[in-house]
Symmetry: C2
DNA sequence: AATAATTAACCAACCAGTCAGTTACTTATA
DNA sequence: TATAAGTAACTGACTGGTTGGTTAATTATT
């Protein structure tokens, strides 16, 4: 029947690779369209399998969704904690480094769109919201609060409400990644994230230095 | 059949009031659950009608969605423009007033959750995204850019990249309202928005003054 | 009585989840 | 080495429940 004798099999058994590929495809579509609007047939197609295969690896659409968020988010947060733990830098240098690296490494990775996704779906998935708060939000805040406290203690920064200051640091970065995902496709030119980060740190540091 | 002779009719004809009531109910659910996850039966129930009635006033679920966003967003944006046009204040006072009023009036209104909603659904509704960009985002930016330019010209603010500075102003406010909607139900105590605004303006103005 | 608003039953399409069957791959046997 | 028997990854057609949208009947109003 098949004239090509070097023909590939119609599919291959790749038990180890499937979950990551499925998660990758799923995350992309969940970010793009949201949970409810994403069709599992489409996820399967993009992952190069059929819908039945999805259910060999994930028990339900909801579990696939949660797994995708969890698996993608954890490496990013570990990175941030590592940067702070490793580097022997002043608080100001640490902030510059963290926010700068963050932009480059996290904001450009597949984890990029997760803020938008989680914010949009938190209302429908209480346990996901709790997971994200505990494992991402609070851990990032803790890292930044630590840096700020050091700066205040050493006299580099003036006394600040740390909770507010943390929000001040991350808000422009987070919101910009969210916006890139939401409106990026509808605008001609994308914002220069590196330049914007530079600007943000400049204004921010002027505002919090003694 | 009905033993109560003072009984009300089972329903009343209220052609004028229905659309606003339906939009109110719809918006609340769309913000809470997203477009796809919101059931029209539920919208109808919350609006005190049945599903069929929805289709007397809106031709489809999608048109109801767009109408809800449009009707709710326009008054808010008009308010911001009015504040700036009316007041005879210094750029710094204007910023304080605008951001402060904004928090109080807009962030506490039903328009509150629309940022989150639009961001989440922009990918599924290109024309809504364009509408929001044109009628909200760009108009708000224009107002703020105007204030900043005045401040720079008068020497109160140092020379700034205005596009970036606008983002710097609005990011913490917008992101906080988005977060209140997404995670508010899962946290014990809500953030004191007034105090946070105060803090934000303080840091910001220190950062951009000459 | 005539009309217009609203209801409630209805339909058709869609989609998450299932499962019987198929196919790639592995291991045992000659 | 060749081949048969066995295993499990994978497929794809199917289904049962759900829901956007329609319409014939009902009820309020003029």
């Amino acid at each position: 029947m098949n004239a090509d004798n070097t023909t590939q099999p119609r599919w291959q058994r790749r038990k180890e690779a499937r979950p990551a590929e499925i998660i990758h495809a799923a995350l992309q579509l969940f970010i793009q369209k949201g949970f409810a609007a994403t069709r599992l047939d489409e996820v399967a197609k993009q992952a190069g399998v059929t819908k039945g295969t999805l259910y060999l690896y994930f028990p339900s659409k909801e579990e696939l969704f949660k797994a995708a968020v969890r698996e993608t988010v954890v490496p990013s947060i570990l990175l941030a904690e590592k940067i702070v733990a490793d580097a022997q830098l002043s608080p100001e240098q640490l902030l510059r480094c963290l926010v700068g690296e963050w932009i480059r490494l996290i904001a450009e990775s597949p984890a990029n769109g997760i803020s938008k996704l989680v914010v949009a779906e938190a209302g429908n998935f209480p346990d996901l919201a709790h997971f994200y708060l505990d494992e991402v939000v609070y851990r990032v805040r803790k890292v930044l609060a630590e840096i700020l406290q050091r700066g205040i203690d050493s006299g580099e920064f003036r006394p600040l409400n740390i909770e507010f200051a943390v929000k001040e640091i991350i808000s422009p970065v987070i919101l910009q990644t969210i916006w890139n995902h939401a409106f990026g496709p509808y605008r001609r030119e994308r914002l220069d994230m590196a330049a914007f980060t530079e600007f943000h740190l400049d204004v921010l540091l002027r505002g919090i230095r003694t």
